[in-house]
């Protein structure tokens, strides 16, 4: 009894200390968990914020549908065309600086680190639309152009030159006091992504065309026909190995196998959309085979048995019963593939080429959107703006695709549960 009485408070004290130190340890553990894991989410948010901050201002129709290459034209008024003083156009689209006499609005801007004046608004029937080039041919002027300089005949008989130094404000005021344009340099903005966008769309189409039949066929064999023997195990192992190969190796292989083959067939040198999409098809196969096989296995056996016992042949069962029921899986494989094609860069740089083109041509390899970003950032002056703007497009597409895949798998699980 005595011994217990004396030791009792000691035990309690030790216990209390132990509890306190445990609570401190637990707190540290929880804190480190939260700190480390917040890093993951900070990265995601930071990336999205960075991309949207730098790219949103560039994302307009001129950027999406415009040419990448720049072209320069010289413009002047027709020899006998004078703009009377009483012309007065309304500033209908609220351009920052507007010449009411010529009906044209300007804004200060920069292109390739150089100050220029952007044309932001041309009113209908404006005399600006009837300008001609140096050999008196009509020029189509729209808001995708900017001005490097403009030489004007003023009302008081002077000839004044307006450029970026005077700015958009000076130019607008000058035009209000000018009756004719003597000479000017008009440059198209360029930097558009129309070519890359079209290339990407064509690439998606052809890659799916090559890979879906192959992948679905392979999946049907593995899910329905394959017995557990050496050949099946071999096929599975090889497909698993394919999914572990890094994309740059696929690029090398595509450049080695498909480019020489297609060059021999089409008499055209270098990469093409076909070589790129064949390479992508190779990359996509493991994903497609696995996803489709899984969804075929999810089709209830009773359906298959019912079809066979009604007298349908195995092939009829496959095409009319199993595949329609495995459609959500095929769809999600397609969406996953599209996401991968849009984001792929290393493989396409090797197998299709990294030169940015303006028009779609099947036999010439141009950059896809992701490769466009890569090309924009190589070289001395990286174009962060257009890279970020393309990234916004890619991010939005990828986000929509991944949510769609998630919804599809949810609906599939629900169906199976019922």
């Amino acid at each position: 009894m005595v011994s217990i009485k004396t030791s009792d408070p000691c035990i309690k004290k030790g216990e209390k200390n132990r509890l306190v130190s445990r609570r401190i340890k637990d707190g540290c553990g929880l804190a480190s968990t939260i700190v480390f894991s917040s890093f993951t989410f900070i990265i995601l948010i930071w990336m999205i914020v960075y991309v949207f901050q730098n790219g949103t201002s560039l994302l307009n129709s001129n950027f999406i549908f415009g040419d990448y290459s720049q072209s320069t034209t010289t413009i002047k008024s027709k020899d006998d065309a004078y703009v009377p003083l009483e012309y007065n156009y309304a500033n209908s689209s609220n351009a920052p600086y507007f010449s009411s006499r010529w009906g044209v609005g300007f804004e200060d801007g920069a292109s390739n680190e150089e100050n220029v004046i952007y044309i932001v608004d041309i009113e209908p029937n404006s005399p600006f639309l009837s300008l001609v080039d140096s050999s008196n041919n009509a020029v189509t002027i729209n808001t995708s152009y900017y001005l490097s300089s403009l030489t004007l005949f003023m009302d008081n008989g002077d000839i004044n030159v307006y450029g970026p130094k005077e700015g958009a404000e000076g130019l607008a005021r000058g035009l209000d006091n000018a009756y004719s344009i003597f000479d000017g340099t008009l440059t198209s903005q360029g930097k558009g992504i129309r070519g890359s966008l079209l290339t990407t769309l064509a690439l998606i189409g052809f890659s799916l065309l090559f890979s879906l039949p192959l992948g679905i066929g392979g999946a049907i064999y593995l899910a329905i026909y394959a017995k557990d023997n050496f050949l099946t195990r071999m096929i599975r192992t090889l497909i698993d190995v394919t999914s572990g190969i890094p994309s740059i190796i696929f690029g090398l292989a595509g450049a080695l196998i498909f480019i020489p083959f297609l060059n021999a067939v089409t008499n055209h040198s270098g990469g093409s959309i076909f070589s790129g999409s064949l390479t992508m098809a190779m990359m996509l196969l493991p994903t497609i085979v696995k996803t489709v096989e899984e969804s075929i296995r999810m089709v209830p056996n009773s359906l298959q048995d019912a079809s066979l016992s009604l007298g349908a042949s195995k092939s009829q069962t496959i095409f009319k019963v199993i595949l329609p029921n495995a459609l959500p899986g095929i769809l999600s494989a397609t969406l996953l593939s599209i996401g991968r094609i849009i984001g792929e860069s290393a493989a396409l740089i090797f197998s299709m080429g990294a030169i940015i083109g303006d028009n779609l041509s099947l036999l010439e390899g141009h950059a896809s959107l992701a490769v466009h970003i890569w090309t924009c950032l190589q070289g001395e002056t990286p174009q962060y703006g257009s890279a970020c703007a393309i990234s916004i497009i890619i991010l939005i597409v990828v986000l929509i695709l991944s949510i769609a895949v998630k919804l599809l798998s949810f609906s599939l699980k629900k169906k199976k549960g019922i």
Binding site: L30, Y50, T242, I245, I248, I249, E344, S345, I373, L377
Partner: protein
């Protein structure tokens, strides 16, 4: 002709149709499987080719890739004496250092997802991780050039505009986090609920349970995630090439603040202007990369088998080989 005969003919035709279709699907499956063999054979051939083929340098001068120099030289892409050993070392240690950041981050993120946050937030955060996994590598590269490189440049150490091995390490870590997190998360979700409950019932706090029971019993899944992450980091090309600085000299490869070069970035850098030997030696690098990835993943899968709690000595390859040898000796 009787009714039975017609039925029989119909049945035979159906059967033949089914056999043909089965053969056709087998053919498609074989094509899917054969691509990897094609890739291996073609790259092996083209990778060895520069060592034996003479490329014209000038009118009367011919060069080929020197075999010894390929392993010892400390300069990449230099007149047939380009060496790749420092590229190999940089690739390996960049990946290893990136693991220091990515492994704890992804384990803790997975723990947060599976044990700490409530169910509704969990779904949102899980979608975030999946979104991060689906962001293409070129956007990671853009983020690296735009944010990480200026950050590294502002650290106070002399750098090449922030383009350095350190930037590549950070980017690689960021890229392998989602893969590792997703696999660790799946492993942690699969931990037996009774284990957790008995740990709590024995008086362990929930943090103790999380660290000792949940992480402890999902080691195998975490390791599988690490293997996948290493695979992704070793083969990552675009993002690394954009931030690492592409230094073709390997004399300062150990300095993480200096621009460096990995196997993949060396393959990708300047591909637009490459021709002749400069183009073909990239395939030799590809061959080295394939061999490296095969070796690493093979040795890691051996380690993973050891980590498995149900591992038995009798299952290991070495044990089986030994047993077979002893059996042979016994037979003799």
């Amino acid at each position: 002709m009787g009714q039975d005969q017609i039925e029989g003919k119909k049945y035979k035709r159906k059967n033949l149709e089914d056999q043909i279709l089965k053969g056709f699907f087998l053919f498609l499956a074989l094509i899917c499987a054969c691509f990897v063999i094609f890739i291996a054979v073609f790259i092996a051939y083209k990778g060895i080719y520069p060592f034996f083929h003479n490329y014209s340098l000038n009118i009367n001068e011919y060069i080929h890739q020197d075999f010894g120099a390929f392993f010892t030289n400390t300069r990449w892409l230099y007149d047939g004496t380009g060496g790749m050993f420092f590229l190999l070392l940089t690739t390996l240690y960049t990946t290893l250092l990136s693991l220091i950041i990515s492994v704890p981050t992804s384990i803790f993120t997975a723990l947060l997802l599976s044990r700490i946050v409530p169910r509704k937030i969990k779904i949102v955060l899980q979608t975030c991780v999946e979104l991060l996994a689906s962001i293409p590598s070129v956007i990671f590269g853009l983020f690296g050039v735009g944010v990480i490189c200026p950050f590294v440049a502002s650290l106070g150490v002399e750098t090449f505009g922030g383009r350095s091995i350190l930037s590549a390490i950070i980017i690689l870590a960021m890229m392998s986090i989602p893969t590792m997190t997703m696999l660790s998360f799946n492993a942690m979700e699969g931990v037996d609920k009774r284990l957790i409950q008995s740990s709590l019932a024995l008086g362990a706090s929930s943090t103790q349970t999380n660290f000792k029971i949940v992480i402890g019993s999902s080691t195998s899944g975490i390791f599988a995630g690490i293997i996948l992450g290493i695979g992704r980091a070793l083969g990552e090309a675009t993002a690394v090439q954009m931030v690492i600085g592409n230094n073709s000299l390997g004399t300062s490869f150990y300095n993480i603040f200096a621009p460096g070069n990995t196997l993949t970035s060396a393959m990708l850098a300047g591909i637009g202007e490459a021709s002749g030997l400069g183009y073909d030696t990239r395939f030799s690098l590809g061959l080295v990369l394939i061999i490296l990835i095969m070796l690493v993943s093979f040795s890691l899968s051996l380690v993973k088998r050891r980590l498995n709690p149900y591992y038995k000595e009798e299952d290991s390859l070495l044990y089986k080989l030994k047993a077979r040898l002893e059996k042979k000796k016994g037979d003799e």
